[in-house]
């Protein structure tokens, strides 16, 4: 299953990069969202997929016995999801303000600061 997910991850990265390369700011943000999903999935997949044994200690037991999914990447991804959410919320509002202030959603017209 990891193998399959490797392909899914590749497609997610490709799609996100394609979207980020668009000139419309909305597409840019959608690209960013896909990108964060791709990175999260990547962490999840490369640290190994385990079916049906979440890292929860059953009632009455002191520890988990047998195979259990690796809890550490899960914790990392959780943090990463929250952080990505914060950043994306910011980015979403940013593009709206940018559109209001600049008056276009075409990124190619937003080059006054550089040139």
């Amino acid at each position: 299953m990891e193998t399959l997910m490797a392909y899914v991850i590749g497609i997610l990265f490709a799609a996100s990069i394609y979207m980020m390369l668009r000139r419309s700011i909305v597409k840019l943000v959608i690209g960013l969202i896909i990108l964060s999903n791709a990175a999260n999935l990547l962490i999840f997949v490369v640290s190994g997929l385990t079916r049906g044994s979440p890292p929860l200690i059953p009632d009455g037991a002191g520890e988990v016995t047998g195979v259990v999914a690796d809890p550490l990447p899960q914790a990392l991804i959780l943090t990463a999801i929250v952080i990505a959410f914060s950043v994306l919320a910011f980015a979403v509002v940013l593009i709206r303000r940018a559109y209001e202030v600049v008056g276009t959603d075409d990124l190619d017209e937003m080059k006054d600061t550089d040139t």
């Binding site: 929860l56 200690i57 959780l78 919320a89 509002v93």
Partner: protein, 139 residues
Amino acid sequence: MKSNTLILRTAALAIMPLQLMFSVFLLLRGHDEPGGGFIGGLVAASAFVLYAFSFGVGSTRKLLRVSPKDLLAVGLLFGLASTIPSLLAGEAMLTALWWQLPLPGEGYLKLSTVLVFDIGVYLAVLGTLMTFVIGLMES
């Protein structure tokens, strides 16, 4: 067209308390089951978002009483406060401290810096999301 309806408003009043209750539930038992401060905070926030969608921003502000930023600040301070006992105790920062308070009957109430921290997370998440939503809806 006018956006809120009687049905939505009334349903919101019914659903929202459930969401809030459930969010606290998620917060409190997150140490042992799926949940925790973050998830709890998100559910609480969605309760207020529902309210805001149904009754508008002004009412939501009134309902919240404090500004979302204050919630956020309190949450962050809670999060930081959870580090202080360990520092006072001379332990490394963020060392969890647990106190067991005997309850009437056989149970114990487990109080810990971890819980304080989780509450901080809950409030911070709630404050943040309400800041987003109220800010966006007002503009």
